[in-house]
């Protein structure tokens, strides 16, 4: 069970109040008429399935009903940070190269999984 920090409510809440909404930071092609079928197909259907750090969109469905982003490690299930819509993650897959302790030390919000 996740214990998720909602950046809008400013506190940790039970996973039961949230709903995952898939990969975060998916940008719609600026000019859909001009983009290739492949680019449009990528945007519409294809999602990352990384082994490691993953940025996800979640919604606080029971509660403030706001969408926000979660950076989660898909192997350990650990939530490394949560941040508001429009913000950029401070922890990315590049940090994977670092020792495990460094990642743990730099995380903002934890989880009891």
């Amino acid at each position: 069970m996740f214990y998720i920090y909602c950046p809008y409510c400013g506190e940790h809440r039970e996973e039961e109040e949230f709903h995952p909404k898939g990969q975060a930071h998916i940008e719609r092609p600026k000019d859909p008429e001009a983009c290739s079928d492949e680019a449009w197909g990528d945007y519409l259907f294809f999602r990352d399935n990384p082994r490691g750090v993953h940025h996800e969109l979640w919604v606080h469905a029971v509660g403030c009903r706001k969408f926000f982003n979660v950076t989660r490690h898909t192997v350990t299930y650990e939530i490394l940070e949560t941040y508001k819509m429009g913000e950029q993650p401070s922890i990315t897959a590049d940090a994977q190269g670092q020792p495990r302790e460094a990642v743990a030390a730099s995380r903002q919000e934890g989880v009891r999984a």
């Binding site: 809008y8 400013g10 809440r13 039970e14 029971v62 509660g63």
Partner: protein, 211 residues
Amino acid sequence: MSNAATFDTRTDSAIPVESPLAYSYRRSGAPAAGPESRVTLRERALLGQLVLRGGAIVLDEAVREVLGLGLPGEPQGLVQDERGERSIQWLSPDEWLVIVPGGEEFELETRLRERLGDAHYAISDVSGGQTLLELEGEAARELLMKTVIYDVHPSHFPVGRGVTTVFAKATAIVRRPSEERWELVVRRSFADYCYRWLLDAGEEYAIGVVR
């Protein structure tokens, strides 16, 4: 004044009105509160409830002027007037629930719309959509512990706090206006379920219903 179409949802007094729990009282009964009751349940039916949406600063100025109450400054905040009749609760960063005595909501809405003018905001009258239940007594917290997933320990849930959370298999707003009293705002469609859940869960505390 905006050009939003508004109307007073209160019917004329010639038409009888029923609380969302009227059916539940008939079907499930209402155990009387006695000396052994460690928790009592009371419905405060047919209150005026408005949901305000918009920017915090604009709305705060308007409600301060019209209602004499400011918006709660913190998330999960709940503020009320001295008599506890009028309250404003934080629901989300751009959404607040205002509860006033029944019959006041249309005038309040009209005055807020006049005051807010062309500002970017929305006011919805949700009086008919939800009802307020009060839990009082020493076992009220124990009853909530069996019911909601949120931590209701006084250190985590002080007076002046209100949260929307999972209530049994439904959702409800749980508020703590004073030391000994808890309030639940439940949807009309969930009211019967919540009522029967509270009667069942409160049986061991000899729950009594005050009507």
